[in-house]
Amino acid sequence: MIPEQRSRLQEIVQDGKLGTIFKDIDQLARRIETFAAHYAEKSKGVPRGALPSTLVSLDGVVAEFRSNPYRVQVLLQAMAFGCTPEMLAMIWMSELGCTIQKLTLDYERRDRAVLQIQLRLLDASTLEFRSTEVWDLAVLRLVGLAESDDKPEMSGFYPLSLPASSLAEPS
């Protein structure tokens, strides 16, 4: 990682108030590269035009912060929660406009937590994501909910945010 990248990534982490979690910027950079590699793997075999032709790499993530800080904040918050590259790739595709077509959670205490998400890509084809890691359930903290004509909709991921007043210590 070149010094400029490190410095920019440090700024992004501070801006997102994640400095206490991502103390080691080099390690964070490696996690972003691992995510980017998994994104590339998931994209293999996807029809041309099904995903935006956006550069997904450490450079790309750093550059995206200038135009869409919330997308990068979501990604870093998901990393902070311990989400796997599988779910990070799903989140990033969603941030780029793909929609959650189906989500299934199969949980039984002390037995299993299986999260399966089907994304509808830009050309209406679908891509499956699956995880058995309990920490991946954190994506449910970040998802946007809505109703359209009284029908449920999970739409996009957004950074957790608390107004400053609610963060004040009780006196």
Binding site: P52, T54, F65, R66, S67, N68, P69, Y70, L96, G97, T99, L122, R141, L142, V143, G144, L145, A146, E147, S148, D149, E153, S155, G156, Y158, P159, L160, S161, L162, P163, A164, S165, S166
Partner: protein, 133 residues
């Protein structure tokens, strides 16, 4: 000429760079062929991925290409009623401008969008009634 009704949603402390994509995305779910336009620069966006929400504070969302073209040609003409939603975001406040709240489709979008921004997002924004100005 057509008029406009403002629906203002208070979202204390929430940044426009987050509320605007949440709103645009909701309208896109309802109008999948929508065309978006930066209200400040008139720059047109054909996809959600290419929008730079870090800078967008005012967005026009047209129902489809035909609506966009018609607005370009005729502006706020009666034939363009209910073909576009105007969104404005600032820190702590989001405004939806539509032609006519009596239109069932528009009213449904506004209701869904208000609920989404107030209850459906990962932020804590005390419930505030939308105000029609």
């Amino acid at each position: 000429m057509i008029g406009g009704e403002d629906i203002i949603i208070q979202l204390p402390g929430v940044a426009p760079s987050v509320t605007m994509p949440a709103a645009v995305r909701y309208v896109l779910d309802r109008w999948p062929a929508a065309v978006m336009q930066d209200g400040d620069t008139a720059r047109r966006f054909d996809s959600f991925a290419t929008m730079d929400f870090g800078h967008l504070r005012e967005v026009f969302v047209y129902r489809d290409e035909q609506a966009f073209d018609s607005w370009e040609r005729l502006g706020a003409d009666a034939t363009n009623a209910d073909q576009m939603i105007h969104l404005l975001a600032s820190v702590g406040q989001f405004t939806i401008v539509i032609d006519n709240l009596q239109d069932m489709c528009a009213a449904s979008i506004v209701r869904g969008l208000c609920d989404r921004l107030r209850f459906g997002m990962p932020w804590f924004a005390p419930s505030q009634d939308a105000e029609a100005a």
